[in-house]
Symmetry: C2
Subunit: 219 residues, 2 copies
DNA sequence: ATATTTTTTTAGGTTACTCTAAATTTATTT
DNA sequence: AAATAAATTTAGAGTAACCTAAAAAAATAT
């Protein structure tokens, strides 16, 4: 139905819509996110519009149609299930799996993905703490708190990370921070909002606000 | 390095070379096998030749170069490992896995395939009894016997099937014949070479020579 | 309300892969 | 050894997905 390229556009539009709380996504946003020139993006928007996967009016940005959204979510489902397969079964670490999942998510068999889901025990979250949509597209919708917003002596359990570049994830590995880790905020420096935290039951160190802002916790 | 399309051509050339015991593969052979018009095949042959993946002289057919052969075998390795994953872990039957593996074999990560190999326990054969090349391209090379060539009262263990269309595999499912099954030839009709066989320890029935010719056994 | 800047679209091209129709080469028959 | 048939290549074209440069529209600043 949709080509690999079209699938990538839909996924990108979906993720930009989430970041902008469903406001129209602009051509330039897509161009920047996908590293494809704006003129090329315009071409593809016309095509996706003709296929009724997006709502598109010249100069007005785009929104996913119902069909487009379902398709986007089904690709995200595949991406996250494959990521979990790679960490759980093949023992890759969370900083290695994204790129491979970018390819695996385009494997078309619906049956394959349902079997994979069962094989993994119908998981609810991927290795980065992102929710895995079920086969109807529904996904867990918890509200998490930014680590940087916790008060002194407050504890949180790492739920998700916002920034997911391998370099950031590898840094968290060094700090022993992963999904599920309990973090307690012990102190905050007024000047730069850096935090002194304890991780798990052992170590105690300081992290910048830049890092804290990219970690979401449940209380 | 090589595109999905190029990979499919190399795989096709490899399999035709095996069938013709390494004689040059013709443009028309490829055209028929890949269901792509001969003119298009010629275009691609020029391209693969420029990349030194095949030996190609106008009108003279093609052979894989050393590099081309290594690449073809690495794709076959991926194909067969994914097929085994699908049967062993996701519980698909041998008649369902080929199509999915046709897509999965193009996922590029070398690391992924090495981990998958380990996860499956470094298997030697795929669900159809075909040998899985190891990471250096070496594969088991047993000599098997055609079921149709067994003498009366001779036994064999099913090792591979030649024809691998889903329809044929499903028929074998019905007959309870799979890789590993022991078959004993009890009688042969002179007129049409059809065989009366016993399968495993139970059933006893007749199969046509057409079917027998597509089953290879070890003695 | 104009002028300037920024964003987006259009116009015209390129590459990868496919096609049909015509030309050429090789193989087979007579 | 021609003549005919079959296989292969060339020529010309189309679609998908990209690009740069120029034009047009929208947003911002004066
Ligand atoms: Mn990812
Ligand atoms: Mn993820
Ligand atoms: Mn197969
Ligand atoms: Mn196989």
């Amino acid at each position: 139905m949709a080509s690999l390229t079209e699938e990538n556009y839909l996924k990108s539009i979906h993720s930009l819509m989430e970041k902008s709380s469903s406001a129209p996504v602009t051509t330039n946003d897509l161009s920047a996110a996908m590293k494809i020139k704006a003129a090329s993006v315009t071409d593809m928007l016309k095509k996706l519009s003709a296929k009724k996967l997006i709502h598109y009016k010249k100069y007005q940005g785009v929104l996913l149609t119902h069909t487009g959204k379902l398709l986007a979510i089904s690709i995200i489902r595949k991406h996250r299930l494959w990521e979990l397969f790679l960490t759980e079964k093949l023992k890759f670490s969370w900083d290695q799996v994204h790129e491979m999942a970018e390819e695996l998510e385009h494997v078309s068999s619906q049956q394959l993905i349902e079997r994979l889901d069962a094989f993994l025990g119908h998981p609810k979250f991927d290795p980065h703490g992102d929710p895995i949509p079920d086969h109807n597209g529904k996904m867990a919708d918890y509200k998490f708190f930014n680590l940087s917003s916790l008060t002194i002596n407050e504890k949180g359990k790492v739920a998700t990370v916002i920034e997911q570049q391998p370099s950031f994830l590898k840094h968290l590995n060094k700090l022993n921070i992963k999904v599920g880790t309990t973090i307690k905020v012990l102190d905050r420096v007024d000047f730069d909002k850096s935090l002194t935290i304890s991780v798990g039951s052992s170590s105690l160190f300081s992290i910048s606000n830049e890092i804290a802002k990219n970690i979401l916790v449940s209380k």
